[in-house]
Symmetry: C2
Subunit: 210 residues, 2 copies
Amino acid sequence: MHTPTRKTAEPTVRRLSLYLRYLEAFEQAGRGTISSGELAQSGGTTSAQVRKDLSFFGSFGKRGLGYSTHELTVHIREILGLDRQWRLVIIGAGKIGSAVAGHRGFRDRGFEIVGIFDADPHRVGHALGGVTVSDVRHLETEVKRLRADMAVLAMPAESAPEVATRLAKAGVHAILDFSTAQLEVPSDVTVRSVNLALELEVLSFALVNR
Amino acid sequence: MHTPTRKTAEPTVRRLSLYLRYLEAFEQAGRGTISSGELAQSGGTTSAQVRKDLSFFGSFGKRGLGYSTHELTVHIREILGLDRQWRLVIIGAGKIGSAVAGHRGFRDRGFEIVGIFDADPHRVGHALGGVTVSDVRHLETEVKRLRADMAVLAMPAESAPEVATRLAKAGVHAILDFSTAQLEVPSDVTVRSVNLALELEVLSFALVNR
């Protein structure tokens, strides 16, 4: 299997992820095969792009017959690493942390929230989505004990860089960051940032420039 | 002023937004000027890129002297449309809607939440972040009355496309979408999508391919 560089991977991964949603709906509807044209629609792209995306990870489908819905679903889940369970911790039990903890559908897709941490003693000990909030002081020990793979940073920007460094040292190699901090992590840690204010600014720019 | 196409604009807008954060911190710290090198650091880019980004919107700064922190802050706020107030409505008063409603710092950046809507009668009438939740049935009339510019969709994917269409008809031209729906809106409506499951899948892919 090809390992694309991180830079080229992202848009492809996004499309694979969209194809997968469509495939799952198709499978549920009892459709045995799907064409590259139908998949293209789901990803907002072209048939040629679909064939390119999929051939990149090996050859699926037969010319003229389309793809087997089930086979392709299984393959894409494998490519995306969704054929296994991922163990997630959330740092920050405030509004965003609670929304993430209560997000339906994460577990269905193989993401299990195994720990939640906060620095505020008023939040420690309370349960969020069935998980008791722990003191962030014990982060390293707990993250190792829980065998966490991923972390969601839902905390103020000021303390995010320090926590990211501690998570990386404790063996977490994937971080979804809601703080607006600039994180400095080792190169083997992947960070995805969700910055809500920035998204609104992109919209603001679009409104004044339309 | 140049109006870049929507396609080329996005990465530039993201960088401008990052420069702005850095500039504001610099201004608060009392620094009168800033170099393109310092700005480059904030946007994770090069001095040449900074000069290109800024020259695209007119000429700022003097060679060798750097940029005036205050002037550049004002200019970038203008470019991004942050020199005015934007009126935001949130559709969906569940976990994500509440997190957005409670997000500190939106108002400071000129985004004011003027309305929240939900279809659930148990939520209608309750207050979220100081705003009373209205029945989504009255969306069009209320959106017009409130003179809303932007909407945040924080609702299940099933009902999102219909609501997006109704918002577009009521004159909302910018939508931040947390549902995983495929929205079909007129070409003069800009949609930004935040898909948390998809972000986790990008991380999952990175973990299995590192």
